[in-house]
Structure formats: structure tokens, C-alpha cells
């Protein structure tokens, strides 16, 4: 990386474009201890076997991860798949982020590079098996040539290439350079899964050590000589724009360098983060609310509920639902459920670092969930050829969907902040927690109207569900992400109708860990539980009777019931609740044990979890994702809402009023993985959906009162 300081020629050149900002302090010397960003693609001294595998002279194997590592474990999972087919030893494996490239590194399920929908392992499995097997074949060919023996007599095991007859043996490194020159085989032979030695093992994660000693480099840690720090003042209403601003006080703050209006707000540039924050706080901004959302959450809910009376978009219509509700002896149940906006609140708020190289090309360091889109967006905003922009995806402090944005609106802001400078100084742009909580791109608000019909024999014969909320995909017609999990209800109910209404708000929506299942999973699993209770059926047995055509649902449900000793009495003061949800191809069933806490809110003691995600690449990572998904989902269902007050101002601002689950609220989690030979599916999201409804079901038994509105605990009045 080239780090350069301001030169007067460059500065005056760019100043002529009207994009200069002043410099008031002398550049500080670059400290030797500063974190430099990690370049995408790995060390150039490594020998590339293909787009995904590089081998070093020191025998290390570096896997280029096309997927971002923000906690869900793709570095480890993808490296495991490569190592398996390469017959490498786990100790020699490394992982780095690949460069941004929508073709070479496309998510095969998306058609462009991107991480999401719990697809990292699922879409890469065959691709990386081939990448590993290809590299192995090239190493073997190089060894055969050097040793002058037939390739067919060479074996590879735990990172050692061997020829038994001649007692020759070598590591990978000695042949890496030569192997790279060999033509890769078109169709390398893949292992029979029964011969897997690494897949299915609880291998230690590759990124753990650097995450326990402070050395892992996140975007916020990337520094450079003479770097500028920037923050942006954003409006408190969605859709508001800057009418006017007074920066006189802000400019007096020690370390503030300049202040610029950009399309997203007012940017403050400073010599350090604190000065940027202090300067921002000293701004006086008048906002234009002409196009802003000024309705409250309460008003929005009322407006949404009015849509129940109108004809919506049909998602599913099986049998004759209207008739099912009017049959002889049929009893029915109706419920309206309300779901709030949810912020993702990853630990690392959005951030990006821009460093221009001497040749005019640009390095961007960021938590890129759609790297190709971030690259083209930044290039467009900055007026650069995309070929001159390198997006270096960094290890990232969580996302949960927040960093996967079509059109890269965050990058539009960050690039606009950089574009408003002369570009000569490296720049770090960061959001604060307040920017994050109030920044939109929420899990949308939804309301559901549920109707269920039960015949005289206690059979559920009709299910009628209407879902109202924003289309995350911004569609005018049916958005599958609004109805997934409901439109394909797993329960065998002969008359099923699911309708949807898309609403339009200026509050930007986004996918939030498990997307539609965040609300459909809750609605379906609490409502079926109530219907079963009404007809006197056991929650587990009743579900199983409706799932006879869904063997994988049945197996996970049976497994979790066995783990929890379902049917045995719950501990004194506790009730159990169950839920099973298939999402992103994986099946997860959970049983929770809940009591009423001292403050009157739910206390979740224990969660049993069974998961079927096909072939288990790394059971350790799968268990971690179930544990984490449970904690993430539980925190939201208990505590979280983003609320618009009267007039449309966002009420919440930080972790004091947008609560996160804390360690004293984390239940004991016991996870079992169902053995499977099916292709692997995802685990990043599927752990989330069942916990909410399972807790609500237990809560209903404890309190005789169903949960109709989330969150369960009203944090603002607590």
C-alpha cells in the first residue's frame, strides 16, 4: 500500500475542481503501531492455484473467501471445504477476503458477489470442493513431473505429498510455484462424502486468536499517515433534508478541519474522531421536513390495519377458505399481531476508509457485504473508473443484514464525504451508534391478521392470513420476502389463504437476520400453538400430526422434544414453549423453558435446539450460530422496537433504549445437529425465527394471555 502525504501540486490541482477543504494542522507522523488495512486477495507472493486457493512457499494454504467474515464463520467453513478436497492439514489453512468481483466471486445464488440469505456455504460447497480438488491435482502433477513418477502413484494426506515406492515426500510449498503453472483439470475428481476427514469435525476457527488479543483489524481500526476523520450530521426524521446550517461554533472546535454539506447531511472533517464528534454536536441545522415521514408508529399501525379490509396481493390460495370457516360446527379464532421496526445494531457501526494511491487509484476498506456494488457505487460518486477502485473487505463487527444494501446507500454517503475533499488525505468515515439506531434500513413494521378454523373433530381446516408491510425488494406486486414461511406453510391444512399488502414509507426497509421469517415465523408458530390448544392437542404431537408430509420438520421437532424430555413436568414456576421453522433451507426446532421474572417480564432459562442443515461442515460453527441466533432473536422479541413519536421523530438512539440481550438474560442453550447426507444449507439466520414464538407460547401458558404485539417487554415504560 502506498501512503502519501499532501503535495501542494496535487492539492491545487484538485482545488480547481472546487473540492478542497482546508488544513489547519500539520500532518502527524504515522505511528509504527497503526493498523494498516488488510488487502483483499492475500499476499501477492503466494502462488495462485485458482481464484480461491493460494499456496505459499511455507506450505500455508490461503483460501480467498468471496463471503464476508462478520461472525458467521465463512472463513472457517470455506477453508474446511477446500482443505478437505486438497487433503491439507488444518494447521496450514488460512483465509482472507477475496477482491471485489461480481463475476469471478459471484454468489452463485445471487448472480453477483454478496453475502446473505445464509447462502455462503450452500452456494460455495461444490465450487470450493472443485477449487480444492483442482489445486490438489495441480500439486500432484507438479510432483509427478519433478519426481519422474506416475501421478497415479502419488498420494496426498494431511498436507504431505508422497510417493511410497521411491520414498519421496514433500509439503505443498515446494511445488506451489510449479503447480500454479500447470493447466487445471476441467473436472477434478471429488471425494465420496463418506471419505471426508475434515468436513464434520469441530475444527478450531481460523479467526479466533486475532479476535482475543486485539489484533484483528476491523475497518474502524484502519489508519494511515495524515488520515482525516469524518462524521455526518443526519436528520431525526426520515426523508428530511438540510434547509440551512450554521457551522460557526463547530469550526471553533479544536481539531475541526472543515465542514461541508453533502446530500445525506452535513459532514464534519477533523484531525481525530472526538473533534469530529464535538464539531458535529456544535452544528445548528434547520431541516426541511416537506418530504419527511411525520406519522407516528401508532398512526402507521392504525393505517396498516385499515388495509385488512381491502383486497391484497394473493400469495397462496388452496382449497376454499371462506367455506372452511362456515362449515357445520366450525369454531374459529382471530388475532391481529403487530411487529415494530427493528434496527440491526451490529457492534461495529457502518464505516469506511478511503486511501488514494499515488497513481490515482483508490483503496476502500469497509465491511462490504455486496463488494461489487460498493465498488461501482463509490466509483460513480467519485467519478472514477471502477477498475481504479479496490474494495478491501475487512473483518467486520457484525451485520445481521445491515451491510447488504442494494445500491449501497451507505457507500453513497461515505464516498460523498470523501468526494467533498480534495482526496489527498486518507479519510475515515464512521457512523456513531446514534447514526446506526436512527439510520433506517430497518426490519419493516408489519401487521398480520390471522384467522383459523377448527372443525367439530378438532381438526384445523382453515387458515387465513393477511400480512401488511413494506416490500423489502421495493416491489409493486407480491414480495416473497414479506410472506415466506406463511405462503409455504408447512402444516397440512386443506384450506389456506395468505394475502399481502405492500405499503410505501420513506423509512427505508432492509432484511434483518432471517428476513420474512422474523415475523411470519412468529405469527405462524404462535397461532398454530393457540389453535392446537383450543382443540386440546399437545403442541408437539399436534404439530407432528400436521407435518406428516414434511419429514425433516418432523425429525427436528422429534429430536428437540426428546432433548427437552417434552411431556415431563417443567420446573416449578416454569412453562415450556415450542416452535419449528424452516428458513433458508435449514430446519430448526426449539423448546424453551420460561418463568415470570422478578420484574414481571419473561425469564428464559433454557433453550433446546435441534437443527438439520444438511451435511454439517463444522458442527462447532453450526452450534455457535444457533446459540447466537437464539440470543439475537430473543433480545429483539423481548425488548426491541424502533418507534416513531408523534410528528415522526425517532425515539430510540442508543443501547439504553434499544436494548440488547445481556449475559444475565442469556439462557443455557443445548444444540443437537441432525445427521444428514443432504447438501449443506445455511446456519447464520435459521437459529433466529423459532425462539420468539417458542417464548411467546410459554408466556401464554404462564400468563393466560397471548402475545399480540412485540416486543414483549415495553422498555420505554420499564
Amino acid at each position: 500500500m502506498t501512503l502519501h502525504t499532501i503535495t501542494s501540486t496535487r492539492r491545487s490541482f484538485l482545488a480547481s475542481a472546487g473540492l478542497v477543504i482546508g488544513f489547519t494542522l500539520a500532518p502527524r507522523m504515522f505511528s509504527a503501531g497503526a493498523s494498516q488495512g488488510v488487502q483483499a486477495g492475500g499476499d501477492s507472493a503466494l502462488s495462485p492455484m485458482n481464484a480461491f486457493v493460494k499456496i505459499g512457499a511455507d506450505d500455508t494454504v490461503t483460501v480467498l473467501s468471496k463471503h464476508i467474515e462478520f461472525g458467521q464463520g465463512p472463513f472457517t467453513g470455506l477453508a474446511t471445504i477446500v482443505a478437505e478436497e486438497l487433503d491439507a492439514d488444518w494447521s496450514q489453512m488460512r483465509a482472507v477476503h477475496s477482491p471485489a468481483d461480481d463475476k469471478v466471486y459471484a454468489n452463485l445464488m445471487f448472480g453477483l458477489q454478496g453475502t446473505g440469505g445464509s447462502t455462503s456455504i450452500a452456494n460455495s460447497y461444490e465450487q470450493l470442493r472443485k477449487a480444492g480438488a483442482t489445486a490438489r491435482a495441480m500439486l500432484v502433477a507438479a510432483a509427478a513431473e519433478e519426481w519422474k513418477v506416475p501421478a497415479s502413484e502419488i498420494t496426498v494426506e494431511k498436507g504431505r505429498i508422497k510417493h511410497a515406492a521411491s520414498s519421496k515426500e514433500s509439503g505443498f510449498g515446494a511445488f506451489a510455484g510449479k503447480a500454479a503453472a500447470h493447466t487445471p483439470p476441467a473436472e477434478p475428481k471429488l471425494k465420496d462424502p463418506k471419505d471426508f476427514v475434515l468436513i464434520g469435525q469441530e475444527l478450531p476457527k481460523l479467526d479466533t486468536v486475532s479476535k482475543t488479543n486485539g489484533k484483528a483489524v476491523f475497518t474502524l481500526d484502519v489508519s494511515a499517515d495524515n488520515i482525516l476523520y469524518a462524521t455526518v450530521a443526519h436528520p431525526e426524521h426520515f426523508g428530511a433534508t438540510v434547509k440551512s446550517f450554521d457551522d460557526a461554533e463547530a469550526r471553533k472546535v479544536q481539531g475541526v478541519v472543515d465542514i461541508k454539506q453533502i446530500p445525506q447531511g452535513v459532514a464534519v472533517y477533523a484531525e481525530n474522531t472526538f473533534a469530529a464528534l464535538k464539531g458535529r454536536a456544535a452544528l445548528t441545522i434547520e431541516w426541511d421536513l416537506a418530504k419527511a415521514e411525520t406519522r407516528s408508529s401508532e398512526q402507521l399501525t392504525a393505517d396498516y390495519e385499515k388495509l385488512f379490509a381491502e383486497k391484497g396481493l394473493q400469495a397462496t390460495n388452496n382449497g376454499d377458505v371462506d367455506k372452511a370457516f362456515t362449515g357445520q360446527g366450525v369454531q374459529s379464532l382471530e388475532a391481529v399481531l403487530a411487529f415494530p421496526f427493528l434496527a440491526h445494531a451490529p457492534m461495529e457501526p457502518l464505516d469506511a476508509v478511503f486511501i488514494r494511491a499515488a497513481d490515482g487509484s483508490l483503496d476502500i476498506y469497509t465491511g462490504a457485504q455486496f463488494p461489487g456494488m460498493d465498488k461501482s457505487t463509490a466509483a460513480k460518486v467519485l467519478g472514477l473508473d471502477p477498475e481504479k477502485v479496490r474494495v478491501n473487505t475487512q473483518i467486520t463487527g457484525g451485520s445481521f443484514g445491515r451491510k447488504a444494501q442494494f445500491g449501497s446507500p451507505y457507500m453513497q454517503e461515505a464516498a460523498a464525504v470523501f468526494a467533498a475533499t480534495d482526496g489527498s488525505r486518507p479519510l475515515k468515515h464512521m457512523w456513531t451508534r446514534e447514526d446506526d439506531i436512527r439510520g433506517g434500513y430497518y426490519r419493516p413494521m408489519y401487521v398480520h391478521k390471522m384467522r383459523g378454523a377448527m372443525d367439530a373433530d378438532g381438526k384445523i381446516v382453515g387458515w387465513d392470513q393477511t400480512i401488511v408491510g413494506q416490500s423489502i425488494m421495493a416491489k409493486a406486486d407480491l414480495d416473497e420476502t414479506s410472506v415466506e414461511g406463511a405462503s409455504n406453510l408447512p402444516y397440512d391444512i386443506p384450506n389456506l389463504r395468505v394475502m399481502s399488502h405492500n405499503t410505501t414509507l420513506v423509512v427505508p426497509p432492509l432484511w434483518w437476520r432471517s428476513v420474512g421469517h422474523t415475523h411470519t415465523g412468529f405469527a405462524v408458530e404462535t397461532f398454530v400453538d393457540e389453535l392446537l390448544e383450543k382443540v386440546g392437542k399437545d403442541p408437539v404431537e399436534g404439530r407432528l400430526a400436521l407435518l406428516t408430509k414434511e419429514p425433516r420438520h418432523m425429525a427436528t421437532l422429534k429430536k428437540v422434544a426428546e432433548m427437552a424430555a417434552w411431556g415431563s413436568p417443567a420446573p416449578e414456576g416454569c412453562q415450556r414453549g415450542v416452535a419449528v421453522v424452516k428458513s433458508f433451507g435449514s430446519y430448526v426446532a426449539q423448546i424453551v423453558e420460561v418463568s415470570i421474572g422478578e420484574d414481571g417480564s419473561p425469564r428464559v432459562h433454557k433453550v433446546w435446539c435441534a437443527v438439520d442443515c444438511g451435511i454439517a461442515i463444522n458442527p462447532n460453527v453450526i452450534k455457535a450460530q444457533m446459540e447466537g441466533g437464539i440470543g439475537y432473536g430473543l433480545g429483539a422479541v423481548l425488548f426491541d422496537a424502533i418507534t416513531l413519536a408523534q410528528g415522526g421523530k425517532i425515539i430510540q438512539s442508543n443501547f439504553h433504549d434499544y436494548r440488547s440481550l445481556r449475559i444475565n438474560e442469556m439462557p443455557v442453550v443445548d444444540v443437537a445437529i441432525i445427521p444428514s447426507a443432504e447438501p449443506p444449507t445455511g446456519v447464520g439466520e435459521p437459529g433466529v425465527p423459532p425462539v420468539g414464538p417458542a417464548v411467546a407460547n410459554a408466556w401464554r401458558r404462564l400468563t393466560n394471555s397471548p402475545v399480540r404485539r412485540l416486543p414483549i417487554v415495553n422498555v420505554l415504560s420499564a
Binding site: S35, K205, G214, M347
Partner: protein, 152 residues
């Protein structure tokens, strides 16, 4: 001019005395293991040891650190630190990893004061550290495991 000890070395700071210790560490000392998460002492990602006890560096003005001794994740040492970091690695506690420096600083401090903590002790010491990945289950286990190894 403010003088303090950082990971055993004498340091000075002559900028805005209101600057929180967090930003002095990150922007001026380039010690980036200590993280920003909320800025209002709600999440614990910025936890350091100040004169031997945990402190949220995001709300600690550098002016108040005059003459104090600051230890960050980069400088932590001793048998508790070693036991905690080993225990963290052994069961792969981190997911995204962003909060883990703060978690480890709180956990080390807990073991320094309470070598054999109960679950309630762990709740009390760790409740101020948010992990959005919810690695809490493993954090608890790792603290117990670390305590066991120190005993043995």
C-alpha cells in the same frame, strides 16, 4: 499536558483535555484493540483497566487520567489474562469479535478479584458488556474454564 502510563510506558497528551481516553488510545496511540460501540458506557466494547479496575474509556476524559495507569488488550498480562485468553481460544468464543477485547478486559478483572466466580459473579461483572452476536453462553463457559485452569 496530560501524563499517564499506558501498558507500562509513560505517555503524554497535549490535545483537547475533553477527549475521551478511547479516542486517545485509538486515534493518537494507534492502539485499536479497544473498540467504540456506543459512546455512552452502555456496551463495554471500550473497556480498559484504569489503575487496576475496569473503566469505560469512551466516557473517561483524558484529563481525568493524569497520573493513572492504563492497561489495554494489547498490554494485558498475568496469569488471569493468560487463562482467560486461552480459555477464549479453546472454545472459540468470538463470532464477529468486535466486542471481545472489552469482554476479555472485564473477564480478566473479574478473575483478578474473584478467582472462582459463580454464575452470579459472572453476571455481575459481565452485564455491562454487550455482544450482539450473543456469545454469552461461551463467555460464561470460558470464564469458568479459565478459573478451573488457574486453580489447577
Amino acid at each position: 499536558m496530560i501524563t499517564f502510563k499506558l501498558n507500562g510506558q509513560e505517555r503524554t497528551f497535549d490535545g483537547d483535555p475533553d477527549t475521551p481516553l478511547l479516542w486517545v488510545l485509538r486515534d493518537f496511540e494507534k492502539l485499536t484493540g479497544t473498540k467504540y460501540g456506543c459512546g455512552i458506557a452502555q456496551c463495554g466494547a471500550c473497556t480498559v483497566h484504569l489503575d487496576g479496575t475496569t473503566r469505560r474509556s469512551c466516557i473517561t476524559p483524558i484529563a481525568t487520567v493524569e497520573g493513572s495507569e492504563v492497561v489495554t488488550i494489547e498490554g494485558i498480562e498475568g496469569k488471569e489474562a493468560e487463562a482467560i485468553q486461552k480459555a477464549w481460544v479453546a472454545i472459540d468464543v468470538p463470532q464477529c469479535g468486535y466486542c471481545q477485547s472489552g469482554q476479555i478486559m472485564s473477564a480478566v478483572s473479574l478473575l483478578q478479584m474473584t478467582p472462582k466466580p459463580t454464575d452470579d459473579d459472572i453476571d455481575g461483572a459481565m452485564v455491562g458488556n454487550i455482544c450482539r452476536c450473543a456469545t454469552y453462553h461461551r463467555i460464561r463457559q470460558a470464564i469458568h474454564n479459565a478459573a478451573d485452569t488457574m486453580e489447577g
